[in-house]
Assembly symmetry: C2
């Protein structure tokens, strides 16, 4: 990816039960991909969930944070889905890659 | 965590079979935690594996990268364990947290 760019690291632990989480998570990923400045997203969950999304600028991250559908999902996150979460907004300073 | 601090985002896809990976991953986490400048580590793997480790400085990250046992594991990673990986070294600019 072309620098400078930003990574948003979202780590979380879930409440028990789905409560519509799976469907909303897919919908949010679909919407994020349509946002201006979106570069990519990667997710995995075991005892902790980690989602890292990549963005061209802090402005693009702020736009996604205040997207109306995303705001709705964020409220549901606090009331229904997450026991704990942490968001870190990071400037990617260096990167390297290996492919077999 | 006290700023400034750094996040190392390690994303990967595995080859098939364990080939000693599980044991080495645990050992590397144990060693990383004893490194000077280590702040924390979080991991999850589904179709992609994501490990994020947190460090006080770029020097602490460089020390861990060149740790002899870690160098051995990195070589095994390339020959045996990973189809693909990407490492991103990031400055954490902002963070916020929610706890129920």
């Amino acid at each position: 990816m072309e620098k400078p760019y930003y990574a948003v690291i979202f780590t979380s632990t879930r409440t028990s039960g789905d409560h519509g989480y799976g469907e909303m998570a897919e919908e949010m990923e679909r919407l994020a991909k349509n946002q201006s400045g979106f570069l990519g997203i990667e997710s995995a969950r075991e005892s902790v969930g980690i989602t890292v999304s990549y963005w061209t600028s802090l402005a693009a991250i702020a736009d996604w944070k205040t997207n109306a559908d995303h705001l709705f999902a964020q409220r549901k996150g606090v009331t229904d889905w997450y026991k704990w979460y942490k968001v870190r907004i990071c400037l990617v300073e260096r990167e390297y890659e290996f492919e077999k």
